[in-house]
Symmetry: C2
Subunit: 120 residues, 2 copies
DNA sequence: GCTTGACCTGGAGCGCGCTCCAGGGTGTTT
DNA sequence: AAACACCCTGGAGCGCGCTCCAGGTCAAGC
């Protein structure tokens, strides 16, 4: 019997909802920590790798770019300097809140148009 | 004296905050209604053109794509069929609300990280 | 008449975030 | 041993939303 831990590429793709190509891309780009390999060079995703990918995709869905996500990963995993980390996190947070404002404004525009056309 | 109405390209760029290239691109792509030209082929933006561009940039800032914006313009300016128009507007609205949810989730993630690191 | 400057057109180029593919290896099944 | 499924690497390609550029026109100022 083989003693492998974690899940395979295909299983990780299913678990995260990402494509295998995207998972590979994310590792190349440093968005996920270094992931274990088995004897033949295949990836083995541990539970916390999968969890981390969940965090990353959540932030990505909110519009963060690859460079931001890479920095996020570096600062939180490799334990960067605390000041830089907090500053970065708060900066991104502010940006998202700003984005939420833009979103609300757009919803209002659509609501206005809907109301305008709806009342005729 | 020349009798021109509206504002020039450069003035429109200043007024809207977009580059001249972007304004030209938006017209090519049909995101703004057809805009008047003067005798020598230069654009003359009327007040409502500028206002419309404001609406378009608002929606764009919320993440709508060019194809959506084109359709939006077509449906609202060229008076498309009412059913299609309302359906489209509501569909986009729903999507933006969904986006707002993703944004809120991401803000929560960042808040959690900030709290975690802040308390050490 | 000549320069200057704002503007025009058509088309190429770019950064992002994937996505696809060729060519090859490994490990289980039959 | 042959077939198959699964995975690997490196690199090219793609759609989007601009952005830049060459080459030219037109109106005003000197």
């Amino acid at each position: 019997m083989t003693v492998t831990q974690g899940i395979s590429m295909g299983e990780a793709a299913t678990a995260t909802g990402l494509s295998e190509d995207t998972l590979r891309y994310y590792e190349r780009e440093g968005l996920v920590g270094p992931i274990d390999r088995d004897a033949s060079g295949h990836w083995r995703y541990a539970d916390n790798d999968v969890a981390w990918i969940g965090v990353v995709t959540c932030l990505r869905d909110a519009g963060l770019g690859i460079a931001d996500l890479r920095r996020f990963t570096r600062l939180l995993r490799a334990d960067g300097e605390a000041g830089e980390r907090t500053e970065f996190l708060m900066g991104r947070r502010d940006e998202l809140v700003r984005q939420a404002g833009a979103l609300a404004a757009a919803v209002k525009v659509l609501d206005d148009k809907i109301a305008y056309y709806g009342s005729r």
